[in-house]
């Protein structure tokens, strides 16, 4: 128990982020999923009804049926797949780069006090810059095409990953490190057998925060001039006055964001079965 003290996250946060990821008994789980769907589905039905009954115009906020029709049309013409693929590719590349950079820097800063003293103030200063502020510079440096977009996303992803991972490394319980020392583990063995597993739960949280920001920055990146991608779809919808297209893109963002996050959680779940959290106790 005591060994895990530093690793447990606030149960509230967990509970809010986790529903639906772990298979549960169908009865309680199904009921919970239905309850979670009640609000959005109810609101959609209400709005649909309001538009059908003529209580609302539905021009700037189209009825759900119009939205679905727009989505179906985008899917049929192949545009949806094109835009989704473009955006996904950018997020994937930016996320991979950002995670690599954030992880590397946090491991450096976590492994050596000197590296931390040298690196951390600069990184914290860079982190304070609103990432959108990089846009003009990145366009000048890297051009208007993919490279600058991926770079912007990577910057957005790297900082939360750095911050979360370094925090996790520094908060590893001294007492379990002593267990490793008493068995004469080398520095590398200590890192692999104690630090890595101890840090993993918080690392996953850092990755999820990074992924969320990745999705945020892909829109900013696609606003700065793109001919394809969901961000382009948003901009195009605004310029041509097609609110249904804007909302369709927003819905796709919501679905993709949730799906990729769920994927990340599901991929990490086998490594975190040991966790002693309030959430786990409620499930057990």
């Amino acid at each position: 128990m005591s060994a895990a003290d530093g690793l447990i996250e606030t149960p509230g946060l967990r509970a809010a982020q986790r529903p639906g990821v772990f298979p549960r008994a169908l009865g309680a789980g199904g009921r919970r999923a239905l309850l979670g769907l009640a609000l959005p589905v109810g609101a959609a039905l209400g709005w649909e009804l309001a538009v059908r009954l003529g209580l609302a115009q539905g021009r700037l906020l189209p009825a759900p049926s119009t939205l679905l029709a727009t989505l179906a049309e985008l899917a049929r013409s192949g545009d949806l797949a094109l835009h989704v693929r473009a955006t996904l590719a950018r997020v994937a590349a930016g996320f991979a780069l950002g995670v690599a950079a954030g992880t590397l820097l946090s491991v450096l800063a976590g492994a050596s006090g000197l590296a931390r003293t040298v690196l951390d103030p600069t990184l914290q200063g860079l982190r304070a810059i609103p990432s959108i502020a990089w846009v003009p510079l990145f366009i000048l440096w890297l051009g208007i095409f993919e490279t600058s977009k991926v770079a912007l996303i990577a910057v957005g992803v790297a900082f939360p990953v750095y911050l979360g991972t370094l925090g996790a490394i520094l908060s590893v319980d001294r007492r379990i490190i002593e267990v490793g020392r008493s068995f004469r583990l080398t520095r590398l063995q200590l890192a692999r057998r104690i630090l890595l597993p101890a840090v993993l739960p918080q690392y996953v949280v850092a990755l999820r925060a990074g992924l969320g920001l990745g999705w945020m920055f892909v829109v900013a990146a696609e606003f700065m001039g793109a001919s394809e991608g969901l961000g382009y779809l948003l901009l195009d919808g605004q310029q041509l006055g097609k609110p249904a297209q804007i909302m369709a893109a927003i819905v796709v963002f919501a679905v993709l964001g949730k799906l990729t996050d769920a994927l990340l959680v599901a991929a990490s779940a086998p490594f975190l079965r040991w966790e002693d959290t309030a959430q786990r106790a409620a499930e057990g």
């Binding site: 128990m1 895990a4 002593e178 020392r181 008493s182 004469r184 597993p197 101890a198 079965r273 040991w274």
Partner: protein
């Protein structure tokens, strides 16, 4: 076998936790170290474990100087300190990863049986009670077959019933390979039940107040029964040595 020679430890703050302590412990001997808080008994164990460096003096194990964690020395802490991401069996095998697989698994299986957790090797630490977790910690230290096992108030966080149970487990495990035991405790009854020799420490700076042999034979592999007239006499003797220290500690409290 284990020689502590003029051992001192002064912390950077200037606190002298241990001053010129000399102690010889024989092979297979069980020595209990008792004393109030702040008398340097935990510092002493950390030095022998190689987790801390002494400011002065030497520690020798069979003639070999100890300056860092040594394969012949194992330690059990006050808390189990199990690794939450390893199963019970993996925790027990943590310190013997260098052994061949068959040997490792045989030792783990034997240890699981000895601590009454046979068939529970696949459980997670979070599923264990406090007493079970500390038994796993004992097994983890002992499967590495240390010549000296250090115990830092290992049962103090447990209730009286579980503590008695663990003392029995400890004696049974000790009987297997008979390592030298250095047991730090603030429970005089525990010291009387387990030890061959009791070192009573005094604080400010940490030093040996007195040393007592427990003459009563221990029914191996059992703890000695407490409450016998001999045990009570020894207990009074120990309390007498500890009393001045307690009065010293009571003074600042009274002034507040």
């Amino acid at each position: 076998m284990l020689r502590l020679d003029g051992l001192s430890r002064t912390y950077p703050t200037g606190t002298q936790a241990l001053a010129h302590l000399t102690l010889d412990v024989g092979a297979g001997e069980i020595v209990a170290i008792v004393g109030g808080s702040g008398c340097g008994k935990s510092t002493l164990l950390r030095l022998v474990a190689g987790l801390d460096r002494p400011s002065g003096g030497r520690i020798e194990l069979d003639g070999e100087a100890i300056t860092a964690p040594h394969p012949g020395v194992g330690i059990v802490f006050q808390e189990p300190r199990l690794l939450a991401w390893l199963t019970v069996a993996q925790n027990i095998g943590f310190g013997i990863a260098h052994l061949p697989r068959a040997e490792r698994e045989a030792r783990i299986a034997t240890a699981l049986e000895r601590i009454g957790l046979a068939g529970h090797g696949g459980r997670w630490p979070r599923e264990l009670s406090g007493g079970q977790a500390q038994r796993v910690a004992l097994a983890r230290a002992l499967v590495a077959r240390p010549r000296v096992l250090l115990l830092d108030e290992p049962f103090s966080a447990l209730d009286a019933f579980t503590r008695a149970d663990l003392q029995e487990h400890l004696m049974a495990l000790w009987e297997d390979s008979r390592p030298t035991l250095l047991l730090v405790t603030h429970d005089i009854d525990e010291a009387l039940a387990l030890a061959d020799r009791i070192v009573v420490m005094r604080p400010h700076p940490g030093r040996i107040g007195t040393m007592l042999s427990v003459p009563t034979a221990r029914p191996r592999p059992q703890p000695r029964p407490t409450g016998t007239p001999e045990a009570e006499a020894l207990k009074r003797q120990i309390l007498n040595v500890l009393r001045p220290a307690r009065q010293q500690m009571a003074l600042p409290a009274a002034a507040e």
